[in-house]
């Protein structure tokens, strides 16, 4: 046997240990054929090195796995913190950050960013009428549609509820407005919810950033422009102007003053005649609310109804209108025939109000007015939101004997065949379809075909916005039986209308 202290294997063993200590865990030393104790130590160190190498590799593998899991968790956290959970769009925090970045680039010479702020016009009706599940599906689809119209460099965000925003860095005014119009068009298309289609629509405020502006200010101004779009009848795009701040403050003021307007008797009803075209006979009147404001004078519905709808005053205001109109009809008992109707507009939120049918029934009884003398006008978009509760309420009112009329038909996206499924008696054609008669022969033929289709459904047609004798004659020739507009008379206070009704004999309506 070799003497241990002369054994060169010991030197080789020391080299092996040095290699292993330096981190080379794959180093090995072959034992000699002697298979003595030195070889046993060599074998043992080889085996220990193999175990250590394996443990080290396992550890490395686990560290890599844990690091990847931590990275994924960090990315998930960032996504949760910066993205909207429902739609996956950027949230307000991420949007503000990106606006900040775009403004910083503008400081270095790039064109300032533009922010589009979008709010769905009918979302509350969809959410309240069809439930949150339906509302969520609409929001997800809105996110898809908005993402489909923007550039790769733009950011689409959901700010909360039914409010969305688009950040367009380095854009021109023309480019931003083109995207705004495309977004508007996309959101005006129907949303399919199973076998039902609903319409959401949107109002869009646009604000072009300026150097030195903050993200908060840019968003605030876009919001102000969006409210201006709402105030202009919804479904449109408005570019921010400084004077809009004044209008926004005014809206707040109006909302606050509306609360006392009813109680202090500041509201008025004006009545516009609805005429049988063939005879010129006034067969009904439409009640139109006005606000005799103590400082600002007589205000038209466009000045306060949108605010009333947003602020929740609309139900109280609507009750006053119904009571006053029905009371006035009762006062005209000696002046008009028994078939004479008063038309009253109902906002979608009023239609959904649970006690509406009972309130109307009680009011009619109080004034001894037959239900068939009241006609309720509901806007096309109001009905098209697919609100089941609203449709049920209208059905109940029809069973009571009250007439139900679809208002402004032709401004939304409803098909004529869809009219068959609605609980209505009358279709009021929007004035925008009538106003083009003089210049557009095709339009005249189109409206004529529409009259015939509506007639084939057993529904009556009233044309709105008749301004000239020519229009009246064209309508008559096309088969329309009833008309309304300044040609037949402006809306006027009850006293004036009483004189008009008393001055001419009123034949009974033939329908």
């Amino acid at each position: 046997m070799t003497e241990p202290f002369d054994d060169k294997r010991l030197d080789e063993l020391v080299d092996l240990i040095v290699q292993l200590a330096s981190g080379n865990l794959s180093a090995r030393l072959a034992p000699s054929p002697a298979r003595d104790s030195v070889d046993a130590v060599i074998t043992g160190i080889n085996l220990l090195a193999e175990e250590l190498d394996l443990m080290y590799q396992n550890l490395e593998h686990r560290v890599a796995e844990r690091t990847a899991a931590l990275d994924q968790a960090r990315r998930d956290m960032e996504r949760l913190a910066l993205n909207d959970g429902l739609t996956g769009l950027a949230n307000r925090t991420l949007l503000a950050d990106r606006i900040g970045q775009a403004i910083a680039r503008a400081e270095r010479g790039e064109r300032p960013p533009c922010v589009l702020l979008l709010d769905l016009d009918e979302f509350k009706n969809i959410n309240d009428g069809l439930g949150h599940g339906a509302g969520d599906r609409v929001l997800v689809e809105v996110a898809h549609r908005l993402s489909s119209v923007v550039r790769n460099t733009d950011t689409v965000a959901r700010l909360g509820g039914d409010e969305f925003a688009i950040l367009m860095p380095g854009t021109t005014e023309e480019g931003a407005l083109r995207i705004a119009q495309r977004a508007l068009a996309e959101l005006q298309k129907p949303f399919e919810l199973g076998d039902r289609a609903v319409w959401a629509g949107a109002s869009i405020g646009v604000c072009f950033g300026q150097r030195g502006q903050t993200a908060d200010l840019l968003l605030r101004d876009a919001d102000t422009a969006m409210y201006a779009a709402k105030a202009r009848g919804r479904g449109n795009v408005q570019v921010f102007r400084a004077e809009m701040h004044h209008a926004a403050r005014e809206r707040l003021q109006v909302a606050s003053e509306l609360g006392v307007a009813v109680a202090q008797g500041q509201l008025r009803l004006h009545y516009q005649p609805i005429v049988e075209l063939a005879t010129g006979t006034i067969v009904a009147v439409e009640a139109m609310v006005r606000w005799m404001h103590p400082q600002r004078g007589l205000l038209l519905p466009v000045d306060f109804i949108p605010v009333a709808e947003d602020s929740g005053h609309i139900v109280e205001l609507g009750h006053w209108v119904l009571q006053t109109a029905i009371g006035q009809l009762s006062n005209w008992r000696e002046t008009v025939p028994e078939s004479f109707q008063v038309h009253v507009n109902l906002a979608p939120v009023e239609v959904r109000w649970p006690g509406l049918d009972e309130f109307i029934s009680t009011t009619l009884q109080q004034h001894a007015v037959a239900p068939n003398r009241l006609a309720l006008e509901v806007s096309e978009t109001g009905l098209m939101t697919g609100d089941i509760a609203g449709l049920d309420a209208l059905q109940t009112l029809r069973r009571l004997g009250v007439s139900v009329e679809i208002d402004d038909f032709g401004t939304g996206y409803s098909s004529i065949s869809y009219l068959r499924r609605l609980p209505i008696d009358t279709v009021k054609i929007d004035q925008s379809l009538i106003s083009e008669f003089a210049t557009d022969g095709d339009q005249t033929a189109f409206v004529g075909a529409m009259f015939r289709l509506i007639d084939s459904l057993g529904l009556r047609t009233v044309a709105e916005g008749v301004e000239t004798a020519t229009q009246m004659e064209q309508l008559l020739a096309l088969g329309c039986r009833y008309g309304q507009g300044i040609f037949f008379g402006e809306p006027r206070p009850a006293g004036d209308m009483t004189q008009v009704l008393s001055a001419r004999p009123i034949p009974a309506r033939s329908t």
């Binding site: 298979r35 003595d36 104790s37 046993a40 130590v41 043992g44 175990e51």
Partner: protein, 129 residues
């Protein structure tokens, strides 16, 4: 399973007069995972459902791969195992095998054949000659 190369295949596998399985590895054998599996499959086959003590002659075995040591930790037809070697190297290899795997039956290393057989006789076995 593919047949292991000759340098790593067991040399002989028999059942002796006492009913003990005798497994012998050739001098300089490099026992790999497949060769260990091949040997243990054969042990199970010849035991044919009975459990027998087993003497494993691993003297002058050159190396036992980690995968092979794992195979030795799997349950098999052996009721007791005596690992027989001669050198300190055999002892280190054998004890690494015992230490790395949790052996499924009483297993010990011996350098003396008689002591190894005596250890095997200590335990019950249901094998017959």
């Amino acid at each position: 399973m593919s047949i292991p190369p000759a340098e790593s295949r067991y040399e002989s596998l028999t059942v002796d007069d006492e009913g003990f399985v005798q497994l012998r590895w050739p001098a300089g054998a490099k026992i790999t995972g497949p060769s260990a599996k091949d040997a243990f499959d054969e042990v199970n086959r010849i035991c044919a459902g009975t459990r027998r003590p087993m003497l494993v002659d691993m003297a002058t075995t050159k190396s036992v791969a980690r995968e092979a040591r794992s195979v030795f930790g799997e349950p098999c037809a052996a009721s007791r195992i005596a690992l027989l070697g001669r050198s300190p190297v055999d002892r280190v290899i054998a004890n690494f095998t015992l230490g790395v795997s949790q052996v499924p039956c009483p297993t010990r290393f011996f350098t003396d054949r008689d002591k190894a057989l005596a250890f095997l006789r200590e335990g019950p076995h249901d094998g017959t000659v």
